[in-house]
Symmetry: D2
Subunit: 334 residues, 4 copies
Amino acid sequence: MSIRFALLGAGRIGRVHAKAIAANPDATLVAVADPFKEAADAIISRFGGEARTVEEIETAGDIDAVVICTPTDTHADLIEKFARAGKSIFCEKPVDLTIERVRQCLQTVEETDATLMIGFNRRFDPHFRAVRRAIDDGRIGNVEMIQIVSRDPGPPPANYITSSGGIFRDMTIHDFDMARFLLGEEPDTVFATASVLVDPQIGELGDFDSASVTLATASGKHCTISNSRRAAYGYDQRVEVHGSLGSVAAENQRPVSIEVATSAGYERPPLHDFFMTRYTEAYAAEIASFIASVKAGKKPSPSGADGLAALLLAEAALKSVNEGRAVRLEEIGG
Amino acid sequence: MSIRFALLGAGRIGRVHAKAIAANPDATLVAVADPFKEAADAIISRFGGEARTVEEIETAGDIDAVVICTPTDTHADLIEKFARAGKSIFCEKPVDLTIERVRQCLQTVEETDATLMIGFNRRFDPHFRAVRRAIDDGRIGNVEMIQIVSRDPGPPPANYITSSGGIFRDMTIHDFDMARFLLGEEPDTVFATASVLVDPQIGELGDFDSASVTLATASGKHCTISNSRRAAYGYDQRVEVHGSLGSVAAENQRPVSIEVATSAGYERPPLHDFFMTRYTEAYAAEIASFIASVKAGKKPSPSGADGLAALLLAEAALKSVNEGRAVRLEEIGG
Amino acid sequence: MSIRFALLGAGRIGRVHAKAIAANPDATLVAVADPFKEAADAIISRFGGEARTVEEIETAGDIDAVVICTPTDTHADLIEKFARAGKSIFCEKPVDLTIERVRQCLQTVEETDATLMIGFNRRFDPHFRAVRRAIDDGRIGNVEMIQIVSRDPGPPPANYITSSGGIFRDMTIHDFDMARFLLGEEPDTVFATASVLVDPQIGELGDFDSASVTLATASGKHCTISNSRRAAYGYDQRVEVHGSLGSVAAENQRPVSIEVATSAGYERPPLHDFFMTRYTEAYAAEIASFIASVKAGKKPSPSGADGLAALLLAEAALKSVNEGRAVRLEEIGG
Amino acid sequence: MSIRFALLGAGRIGRVHAKAIAANPDATLVAVADPFKEAADAIISRFGGEARTVEEIETAGDIDAVVICTPTDTHADLIEKFARAGKSIFCEKPVDLTIERVRQCLQTVEETDATLMIGFNRRFDPHFRAVRRAIDDGRIGNVEMIQIVSRDPGPPPANYITSSGGIFRDMTIHDFDMARFLLGEEPDTVFATASVLVDPQIGELGDFDSASVTLATASGKHCTISNSRRAAYGYDQRVEVHGSLGSVAAENQRPVSIEVATSAGYERPPLHDFFMTRYTEAYAAEIASFIASVKAGKKPSPSGADGLAALLLAEAALKSVNEGRAVRLEEIGG
């Protein structure tokens, strides 16, 4: 049985998923919906399927699952629509930028017993997975302190910032999910510091480009997250977990690993400069995991609840910056 | 225009090329030939095309190029056949295990002005390419000394050894090609030492499993190659080029790059354990290069002459081991 | 002219300094004072000098400088005594565990115009110095975010904890000084989280063994510090500075740098397991710097004010943990 | 009991040993002999002892051991002189540049039952020792293939070349000793290639500046050595041993280990640029080992026989270059 897919949104992340679907022997791309016809056609000509409207997909008998890659403000509506239509749903993060709307949407998912997976792709990166596996295998004993460094190669354009929900909901949210993936215990307190060091325009839009966040759990585990919207040397994505018996760290990735030694020293090339090349394997494994869950009739992971949990941490971080204090998750309904 | 391909030989390396062809927007897999029908069908069901005989492909009007992945002893015949049929030819190394037959075959290629590329995939590995680029960019000055370490994870089965032509023609041949790719000058002398340290059965079959080779050029450049049929830690593939202004080295590759630190020390996972996973990107880039050459009507590289040159070095190495002395290429007609 | 030294306190850190003095061509060890005669004699027999009392040293005409390595609660008194006696003073950190006493003592130093250097040895580590130099040379642009990881191999005994002043005054204080050394701007806010994850006894004594601290400056620079009293893999001492043009990081140090590759992976030995072997070069360079300052008649660095500044950060960190909020330095008189 | 030393030769290597003797609690520097009085005095003023002639030292009752750091052509005479005088002898390599004279000298050592250690300092480097220990501990199984890379930062002056005995006797000799230290079996065959790539003047003097050597043992183990008189990035000193269960490698050493990441890539500083800073610890451990042997009344290692064995390999290498063939040690009396 091949899972029959419809892709909603034919932008660059949509294309990544279309490619993963086409390459997966257990899946077929049947339909692509995008108001911008050329975008849909470009994907169709390369990876198969046909152009359809969202409404056609909603009622189609030959579609098992949808992949939602549309703008963020349409996610919750589409999840609800396809939950009611009985389709399995993979949705890019976030469900929505407001807690209330996310809760409402997840309520619908629960009532319809829909299958929903949220696109926290980093959980599927082979290096981060191996970190988790090292923990699960007991190699570092009890997890105590985590350090996540997550820096973009360069700041996004102003119009992206405007609709992004801010650095915590847009960028740190991946790190919040990673923290939850690795801590083995829910954070209950968040402290965050944020500032504008990279691009004054980001500050003018009310956002930050540099942030340091500390999460703490009830038993006293810590996780610190360091974010910057700029890293001259590429896409900096590191995780290190310190435990009672040792540590495990995922190293940065570069497209080419050579070393040139001259009188100036030993030089290796910069890192990947783009999240899509950095996370190529993660995106493919993510969709493969979704397909496997759908085939097996199991609820996929990360779930809608994982999406909500990360958003709550983002909310708490923002509150912490504004109030200069540690914020407990329970204060914001977490 | 899409280049229309026929695949000859549906074994594991054939499958690698079929995948690369299917994924390449400028190519189509039209036909697959293999006496073992199930193998051909498995590839067809996944990557397209239909089953045909070699003869059908030879005379087909809808085939532009063939990829030869059949057993070594059929390579020369097939090259000649398809050269005469006017197809562009990609052939896995080696053309043949005997110098004489290779020369004869290349003569036919020349007479028919055929397009022939030999599958020295490592030239297309992004890391080795970057080494070459660093040299071409003048970053290390004049090339002086090269060191190649090339070790398999484990020895092949006895029946493979029997038909392989021996370690120099089968394994070191890749390193000879790499040496030529990087030296910037043809080696004119070969000295080789070889022994049986890994598997006595290999010795009983008249072959070696461990070899150290030194190549020298007229101007005094050296290249040393270290081969072993066994490396407990994986597929060890390193190249280092020392020049007047510095050095450049390609590092080993591992599927997962984490580091676990415990009281025992800092541990990173083993290397890739299989040439296909190690050289995934190289295989795709290799076929892409062939396709681009065919589209552009240019002669591809590495050529049949490159195949011959590497084989001559293998021949010289074997003679050197037998006679305990440095062998000049000209002694064997190089 | 050779600087004539008296050593106060013949414990293990005293021995380190005695060795550095003896090996320095510009210094001579003239006297050693320690109530435990065997300890003083052991140093004298190896590095020269004679046993004297503190009082004899105070009035001696043949002593230019003293090195104070006595218990912490004697530091301030001894600094004052030797400031009045006109001796140059090198004192191990901290000046005292209370802010008030430190201010009082530094007042005396100022009134007597005494020469005082505080033993923040890490500033003299060649690797951390090189980090600072890379910053000063403009290689990473403007400093934005710093990350310090500082972990002991194992927790100290309970009686050490009791007199240590707690993790922030005893352990993090080095990191606070390092942060000030590298930030290029004074931190004005401190947020700290601390817990007991390593040794419950430390918690029973009212202290913590695991801490995460974030410092922020007026212009928005951040520094995060991660401390643990236990690292199974050795003495973990890392600093990374992120700037507008790149980053610079000091790597961990190990006594032996080999790598063993087996089927289990690639393994390097653990780090140094003791601060004295880790910072051997730093201790020697520290005393050399003090000697050079004394010879040149200049005020040495780090100064008493640096000692106070680090202690204020420790105080603020403790207050932050207790109150669950960011604490401004000015709140505690900083 | 403190071993009482005389130092013969107050040049830069003599100074290194004087420092090691002065710092060793089991040794005392009693006398220094050097025709150049200022050199001797400089050492005496720093590390103790008094100036004496070689003859005075020969007959002195207060000297237990001599350290010979004089020009190479005096080594054999001095060894014989002090062997007869009953002093323990540490002599810098080589004993002599000719095999015959070495044999003669060692004959005297044997007849007088003298204690003689040859200065192959690299055996005492902590990293190379750890490589040996990993082998001895069985971590890599049976040793099969060794690779030694040994490159100087830059070529020596012409007058040094003239008296050096050529690259094999002067530079490769250290690598020959390292090969013997690690192989666990004597090499019986040598093949060498050498050329002039760095400095034409070296060629005019009849020497080489670039060499590749392969050693082989009776059981088929190989060791390749790659030498160059120039490495733009510093003093390149690597050893890698490949065995049946894995490999062990000693990494290069740099004085400062930081990494600067910018848009150009990740850069670490160059290596040590001088053998004395690279091998500081090795020199100290070497003399400590000699002192320990003398104190214990044991024959030290490496011995005079080790000095001869390395010289025989150098001789064989030179013969191999000249004759373009593998040379068996037995051909030159090995």
